[in-house]
Amino acid sequence: MDHAELRREIDDMASNFLFLEKREIDIPTAGQFLNQLEAVMRHAEALGSPEARRLAGGLSQLLEKVVLESVDAAAGFGLFERGIVLLQSVADGYCNAGRYDGSIEGFMQELADGLGIPLEAAAGEPATAPPGEVSPESPAAAGEARVQDESLLRDFITEGLEYIGEIEVNILNLEQEPENKDYINAIFRPFHSVKGVAGFLNLVDIRTLAHDLETLLDKARNEALPVTPELIDLILDGSDTLKAMIGRLRDGLEGREATELIDTSDLVRRIRLAEQGADQPKQPKKLGTILLEEGVINEEELQAALERSQIPPPRKLGQTLIAEGIASPKDVSRALRKQAQQVTDSNTIRVDIKKLDDLIDMVGELVITQSMIRQSETLQSLGDRKLVRDISQLASITSELQRSSTVLRMVPIKQTFQRMSRLVRDLSKNTGKLVNVVTVGEDTEIDRNMVDEIYNPLVHMVRNAVDHGMEMPEERIRAGKPERGTIKLKAFHRGGNIVIEISDDGRGLNREKIREKALKNGLIGAGDALTDQEINRLILLPGFSTADKITDISGRGVGMDVVKQAVEKLRGKMDIQSVEGKGTTFVTAFPLTMAIIDGMIVKVGNERYILPTVAIRQLIRPDRAAYNCIVGEAETINVMGRLLPLVRLHRLFDIEPVHANPWEATLVVMEGEKRAKCLLVDKILGKEEVVIKNLGERLKRVKGVSGGAILGDGNVGLILDPEGLFEMAEAN
């Protein structure tokens, strides 16, 4: 490209312009010109012709205004014509003399004045117009849009509700991957569609709210607003309100009594606040704003108090509010704490979970490598004391590094609790029960990778509590309890576990009924003496359900046994406490992370294996008499009166054992999903918390082994999977 070519390009445009039919630039023509001007700008920039570039930029802006009808078409046409001519002479100048002797400033000024286009500085950036809404539609257009057709309204209600329903699904995805633009788009679209049709149907309130929510999401999409749990809550509340508004429309259409008008002012205020957050993300919120948000004070009170705080001697806003009795000291101190928290919040950064996983994996590799170095015989034979000291220093640093990197992935259980609270709210609405949710220990931390895993079993327990545990309001009053029931979600750490309790103050388990049912289903015998605790646990058995009728909420007979299995799959434990008439508590304990396992280390021949402690029932050294072997049948061991199959680990893995006779070896009684077996090993070496290492794709499908781990002495051991071992034994 040289100046002659640039001139030809501009001449092309000029002749296109000359041959226009009418003195009018229609949209397709404007499109062509815009593309041509863009090329001219690019080439002028490359060739070093600032005048041509600025002129082309100015003309582009002019055309954009013509397209958007924000400038008079005839005036725009005249200006464009003169601009093209000027552009030609600039190109001529550069072509012939390598410079332009005239000035374009007069014309640029005219463009700026006439069109409100800011004059681009001579050395400025290429003209890019600020994005934004240029011509908001006229209110008249909205008013005229009368398509008030009942069947359309019905379609809108059905389709609108369906679309908004999709938002909830996608928002859960977004919660897990806040960076994913596809999810934001998927949430954006329903609001957008609802808004569009609401505009035609003259549903001003719905249209306005949908528009506000859409704007908020647009900011999130353009990264002007971070996707925080608060934003997600706001969007969920927004979609709930929209749903309610559309529901109200349906009620009206069906001639049902109109429900209370829906007040969106609170929601709108929160949306505005969230949007402001977009504009000044660094600023911690002012105390007054926090109190406003919490609804402690109103706008007028705040303004008045602010003014009075200025009167000498000046006092802090909080002091004024307390002194005048507008806010309680408790409210103010809570708001102050919240403010302090924001400051610390700005000291945190968001990191993609994938990066964190990679880091933790690499640290795992580091631990392995350093332990290999430490174990190296060559190294030990050197007898260099300093080297030995340095290496042991390296070991302690690495293990510290591993500990702190595992902590990185820990997140508070708060979000899970919020989702569960929401679920309770929805469920209680559907069933007509009145339920409060109380949460305790929301800040208890758990591995990010566990959060999703534990959610489903917890949801099932919450559903159970609302559906089966909670009584209807009338029944509660008859029982002398408060009309409104309470479900408490509590989390705390105990040992290496996170304990989550879900308690309700409902009717409690009816042990008589459970007993009867268990008897009928043959789960227990008529003469069995069971403790209360044992009876409670009966509901965890497969095929047990005491619900008199099947409801939507707890599903069709999907019982607590499924929940128990899910919990155990995560190496968790589960228990039930219940007092009849007072309530029920489900207690679940999960390991804090799937990355660490509590293991028993056993030795077979020269090999070491790790058995997950949760699956071990007991360790025994049997008598000679406890061993039974019938020819052609499996070997069994009599364990406290029950015959359990014997599994010879050395045979499964083809190892030469030290002890082949069960009465000389040690037996580990292990529990699988539905059965127990005795595992024959040579020796128990001890108990240890080990870090699980994936064995990689290639070894993933090896039966009986669920992973590998580095033992405390630096050796590698395989972690065994009881269920897989049992299957192997049964196949032999």
Partner: protein, 130 residues
């Protein structure tokens, strides 16, 4: 001259109610020969299988957006001359300019009346006839 009311118009929008709204508005203007598609991809299929005279498409759709559809139409030798009216929610400048550069025939801002829609269609068709 007046526009041929037998023009076969393709409405593209993912929201069925919106398609119905536009269909109703078109009927008010005397246009009855209408086909519908729920996104850009479905629209392309229709365009390949039957003759269509005019496209009215929403901007924001899953699978294939209105802009992508426009680019696909303009990039197809058989379809590139088809009139294409883009429906946008706001006159968002960046959106409009992008559509104009991609060769849109005109754009219309929601909500609109039957008169405005008619006007836009006439304007496009007449400029093509000229």
């Amino acid at each position: 001259m007046s526009v041929d009311k037998n023009l076969k118009i393709l409405i593209v929008d993912d929201f069925a109610t919106m398609r119905k709204v536009i269909r109703n508005l078109l009927k008010q203007g005397g246009f009855e020969n209408i086909v519908e598609a729920e996104d850009g991809a479905a629209a392309l299929k229709i365009l390949k299988s039957q003759p269509v005279d005019f496209i009215i498409s929403d901007w924001n759709m899953p699978n294939m957006s209105g802009l992508e559809l426009l680019k696909a139409v303009r990039g197809d030798d058989e379809l590139k001359a088809l009139p294409f009216l883009m429906v946008t929610a706001e006159a968002l400048k960046d959106n409009v300019v992008a559509a104009v550069k991609a060769g849109v025939s005109n754009y219309i801002v929601k909500p609109f009346t039957a008169e405005v829609l008619n006007e836009k269609i006439e304007k496009i068709v007449k400029s093509l006839a000229a």
